[in-house]
């Protein structure tokens, strides 16, 4: 096919490939400074209690120890995204096992570890709550007895352990359920899963001679880190400078502060740069995993499969702090309506504290949990009505111009194409080809997170182009995507572009590498910069050619006027000689997504911006005796709007599917009375290369109005569908429906035993 593009749509190698492959890239864990000390956290061994005393004397006398830092050493300041309920070190109460209470600073990691054992902390244990069901009971112990004193965004409606009660309401559900031929109610429970980035969270902090806090870290969001650190240490944001290292994966787990604040507090007290790196055990007990949800879902349908109403009651277990869980509790309702046209909705959600690990914003927050419930139930309904599951979906999905559950008008809706393509690729006609073998399908929509982006695009003296962005490259190659947009629009080769990123002092602001927005938003800011840059280039050329700027023509690699040309290099030379070089500040902010505010109550996330649509399908076998699953084929059809770099989109898809298979089949942080029973990678089971199936990706290009060259967000969606897709295929293969994640072999065998007991 003849593409109108030179750079867009081509699978170029990522611009940071060489450093990563050669080992020269400096990751957060690699980074070192002269005179640097090492910090280690002291974590609470109990899930709920009061700190009675902290005795640091013995630890301070140990070899190599410089300082022991506690809550007393920093301003008593709570911080947080929606509710300010977090503190750096526990000051009076501890609320989960693993909560940092103090930190030791020493010359070596080993000396710090040794001294950690010498700090004597006495606690008084108090009753805790470990499930959301317990936590919302009247009279349940409060995880935060002082919750009323915490500041919060005005949207949230709090009460005790509940950090928000939100609703999405449309039409008359009661009436619609009465009029339905069949009403189905099911309960779905999802698992706590870790984002699984390869590099642990790492940071080095240092207070410079002007008492500015300087941090190097592998955060996804340097500007948020800057703002939060300023809040914690009572500084102005400009007194905090955050520099990015190369980042070994994030998946949302590095959006919020990781260890930067510990390093900053430790460096302040020790008077030397201090480095913190999370241990594997800390990652499993006190990082920011995905919220487990309990979803009760009721759907009313007609006998011919038309959905009339949906009702849901959702409990989001946010752990000991509310974090991003308040957002999850809102967005899960947009997911639960599904990409379906439903005239009556009454969805309600509560985000709830428990005495467990605080949770975060893992890739497509709320996506897999909501999708598992809604898409599992679609198949249950299809079976009960004796309608093919694909057909049931086709009868209810949204189409061009339909309204989403929040009332927003949907554009560029490609869902039918995605579903049909996925079904075709997996061989849907033969859905149950043999005993123990079955195929499953699931579909979803997802948002492209908004927020503003700025870039400086600078012309180097040799005509090379510098893309200076405040957005991090977290491993997705999304910044290479943005650079492709820049190269395409500016008329240069991708190889002419050099990315400079991650220093809050010298890069323009960016809302950051999150929410599938990087290539989308940074790419758009690049387009704006190109417009501005080209205007300046025309002005320079006009002067040189004694012509009018509007008569100068932009060419690939420069400008021309009649038969006179100037290359980028020549323009750069003129600009350097006459006007301090050439640099353009490009900016982007997505237009607001209009929706019906009447339908949403207390929701902190209310829209699906530039929605993308997708369908997954799988063909698998289940060993009925051992419960083992073998995936034969996995198909993803994803509408990406425009495939800026097909290879890296496939990379996102394959990685997302494997991550989703982990959530579906094997991964779970297991708690017992608030204690993690599997705090390491021996028993927290992410899929290995041996477990990753063959994955086939099909990219649909149904352009969005907002994205660069029509692109939509692509990074998060692939992780959404695997749990539902796999659950549906298992049910097709062996008529066992598992409604709790992960679907372990043991659960399959147990469910099959229950099914056969019922049958006899």
């Amino acid at each position: 096919m003849n593409s109108p593009f030179r750079v867009i749509g081509k699978s170029f190698a990522r611009l940071d490939a060489r450093g990563k492959v050669s080992g020269k890239a400096v990751y957060g864990t690699d980074f070192a400074m002269q005179g640097m000390l090492h910090g280690k956290l002291i974590q609470s061994p109990i899930a709920s209690g009061e700190i009675l005393s902290i005795d640091i004397e013995r630890a301070m006398a140990m070899p190599g120890v410089y300082a022991v830092v506690t809550a007393k050493d920093i301003p008593a300041q709570r911080y947080g995204s929606f509710v300010k309920d977090m503190e750096v070190f526990a000051s009076q109460r501890v609320n989960f096992v693993g909560q940092p209470v103090a930190a030791v600073v020493a010359r070596t990691v080993e000396e710090a570890e040794e001294a950690v054992r010498a700090v004597d902390i006495k606690y008084k244990e108090l009753p805790g709550v470990f499930t959301t069901e317990e936590a919302i009971q009247a009279g349940a112990p409060l995880v935060h007895p002082a919750w009323q004193e915490y500041k919060a965004v005005p949207t949230v409606k709090r009460d005790g352990n509940v950090t928000n009660y939100a609703r999405l309401v449309l039409g008359d559900v009661e009436k619609a359920l009465k009029e339905s031929d069949r009403v189905f109610t099911h309960r779905f429970v999802t698992n706590v899963v870790h984002p699984g980035y390869t590099e642990p969270r790492a940071a080095i902090a240092h207070w410079d001679d002007s008492n500015q806090l300087v941090v190097w870290s592998n955060t996804q969001l340097p500007f948020e880190a800057q703002a939060t650190l300023a809040e914690i240490f009572k500084l102005t944001p400009s007194q905090v400078r955050v520099n990015l290292t190369v980042i070994g994966g994030g998946f949302g787990g590095k959006l919020r502060l990781g260890v930067e604040h510990y390093a900053a507090a430790a460096a302040l007290k020790a008077g030397r740069p201090v480095k913190f790196v999370s241990s594997c055990e800390e990652e499993m007990t006190s990082a920011l995993p995905r919220q487990p949800l309990t979803i009760e879902l009721t759907t009313g349908v007609t006998n011919d499969g038309k959905i009339l109403a949906k009702e849901a009651s959702i409990l989001v277990d946010t752990g000991a702090t509310s974090g991003s869980g308040v957002g999850v509790a809102s967005s899960v309702m947009l997911m639960l309506a599904g990409p379906y046209k439903i005239p009556n909705l009454r969805l309600e959600s509560r985000s709830v504290y428990t005495n467990k690990t605080p949770t975060g914003s893992f890739r497509a927050p709320a996506g897999p949990q909501g999708n598992f419930a809604v898409e599992s139930q679609m198949d249950i309904i299809a079976d009960a009505l004796n309608i093919d599951p694909l057909e049931l979906r086709l009868r209810n999905i949204v189409r061009e111009g339909d309204l989403a559950p929040n009332g927003q008008k949907l554009e560029s809706v490609s869902l039918e194409t995605c579903l049909l393509k996925a079904a075709d690729a997996i061989g849907w006609k033969d859905r149950k080809p043999a005993r123990g073998r079955g195929k499953g399908i699931a579909c979803a929509w997802w948002t492209t997170t908004s927020g503003s982006s700025g870039v400086y695009v600078k012309l180097g003296p040799d005509g090379r182009v510098f893309l200076n962005t405040g957005c991090a490259e977290i491993g997705t190659a999304a910044l290479t995507g943005a650079a492709q947009v820049l190269a395409e629009a500016l008329g240069v080769e991708l190889a002419d572009i050099q990315i400079v990123s991650g220093d809050t002092a010298s890069t323009p602001f960016d809302f950051g590498a999150q929410g599938s927005r990087t290539a989308f938003a940074v790419g758009n800011a690049c387009l704006d910069a190109v417009t501005k840059l080209q205007q300046r280039m025309k002005e320079i050329a006009a002067k040189q050619f004694s012509a009018k700027p509007e008569d100068i023509e932009i060419t690939t690699g420069g400008v021309k006027h009649g038969d006179k040309t100037l290359s980028l290099r020549e323009i750069a030379a003129v600009a350097q000689a006459s006007q301090g070089g050439l640099i353009a500040h490009g900016t982007f902010i997505a237009p607001p997504t209009l929706h019906d505010k009447e339908r949403t109550e207390n929701m902190v996330i209310t829209a699906i911006n530039s929605p993308s649509f997708h369908a997954h399908a799988v063909d698998l076998s289940v060993d009925e005796e051992t419960g083992e699953i073998k995936i034969h084929d996995y198909v993803v059809v994803q509408d990406v709007g425009r495939a800026i770099n097909p290879k890296y989109i496939e990379g996102q898809i394959e990685g997302g599917v494997v991550q989703g298979i982990g959530q579906a089949l094997s991964e779970e942080i297991v708690y017992e009375n608030g204690i993690v029973r599997n705090p390491g990678l021996t028993d927290y089971k992410m899929p290995t290369a041996m477990d990753a199936p063959n994955i086939r990706s099909f990219l649909i290009e149904s352009p969005s109005k907002v994205g660069p060259y029509g692109a939509k967000g692509v990074g998060e969606p692939p992780v959404i569908h695997p749990p539902a897709t796999i659950a549906n295929a298992i049910a097709a293969a062996v008529s066992a429906r598992v409604q709790t994640l992960p679907i372990t072999a043991e659960k399959i065998v147990r469910t099959l035993a229950e099914v056969s007991t019922k049958a006899t």
Binding site: E114, S666, D683, M690, T744, E746, V749
Partner: protein
């Protein structure tokens, strides 16, 4: 805390060093169990005695009586050993599912046995082959059946100054086959929730004979399943016979409940895998027609 790292050049030196340093010293081979334990407990040995220079312990040998594997033989060597095709293939099957490539490149057979984890994957098949282990210490050398050597979880008969030098087993006579199956959540990097090894021979009359079955990870140590073996002797593996053998195997299991699996699921898998291992072994004899393993 400082740990002394010693590198003996000979077996005698290794033993002498261990004796001199006392119980605070530990041998290290691949280190894939020892280092993990050190990190996990935070307790460091006073001295680590590296056995890697004793290269003579890194060979696989055989003679008319059977095989001898040096304690330093790695799982990689076992999984790629041509002599372990045919009747002995369960050795390869056991070795090739241990950890991942990196682990198998350095982890040793001796370490697997001396560490005595109930889930050590090499133990069941070696129990089936009636393996003996040789220990050399300050008071001389001795041979002990593997079944007696491992006493329980992380407990063996080895004295602290004894080096395991090799593992020997006689080759079963006649037409035989072996098989190994492992249950776990993943296809690699997985501590077995149940491991099952079996060896079966075919009598002149076409029935099963000299049946050997051993299970791991379903009790405090890997054991032979004597009752199931006895029951299978002289029978053909019909569905009913296999079913019954599975039940006998499951009855012999004493699994624990833990985060990896419940006791009842482990017991269930013991039954399934016992049956499948015998069936697989039997099919292999029937398919091969003869024993292709080196002799």
């Amino acid at each position: 805390m400082k740990v002394e790292f010693l590198e003996p050049q000979s077996l005698q030196d290794a033993v002498a060093m261990a004796k001199a340093k006392g119980v605070g010293a530990r041998f290290v081979a691949g280190g894939t169990d020892l280092v993990i334990q050190m990190r996990k407990t935070g307790v460091l040995p006073e001295a680590i005695i590296n056995l890697q220079r004793l290269r003579a312990l890194g060979e696989i040998k055989h003679d008319a009586d059977g095989f001898s594997l040096g304690a330093l033989v790695t799982h990689r060597q076992i999984e790629s050993e041509d002599r372990f095709l045919g009747g002995l293939q369960a050795l390869r099957e056991s070795a090739c599912v241990i950890g991942g490539h990196q682990v198998r490149n350095v982890a040793t057979l001796g370490g697997n046995l001396c560490n005595a984890s109930p889930a050590a994957d090499m133990v069941p098949i070696l129990l089936c082959f009636n393996a003996d282990v040789t220990l050399v210490g300050s008071s001389g050398s001795r041979n002990i059946p593997l079944a007696a050597f491992i006493e329980g979880p992380r407990k063996t008969q080895r004295a602290h100054d004894e080096v395991m030098t090799d593992i020997r087993f006689p080759k079963p006579a006649g037409k035989f086959a072996s098989a190994f199956l492992k249950g776990g959540r993943r296809r690699a990097m997985e501590i077995s929730i149940v491991a099952m090894a079996g060896v079966v021979s075919m009598s002149a009359g076409g029935t099963m004979t000299d049946v050997r079955l051993a299970m791991g990870a379903a009790g405090p140590k890997a054991i032979r399943l004597a009752q199931a073996e006895k029951f299978l002797e002289g029978k053909v593996p019909s569905k009913a016979v296999l079913e019954e053998a599975g039940k006998l195997a499951a009855a012999a299991a004493s699994p624990i409940d833990d985060v990896r699996a419940s006791a009842s699921f482990r017991r269930h898998l013991v039954g399934v895998y016992a049956r499948r291992v015998i069936e697989l072994g039997w099919n292999r004899i029937s398919e091969a027609g003869n024993d292709r393993s080196a002799a």
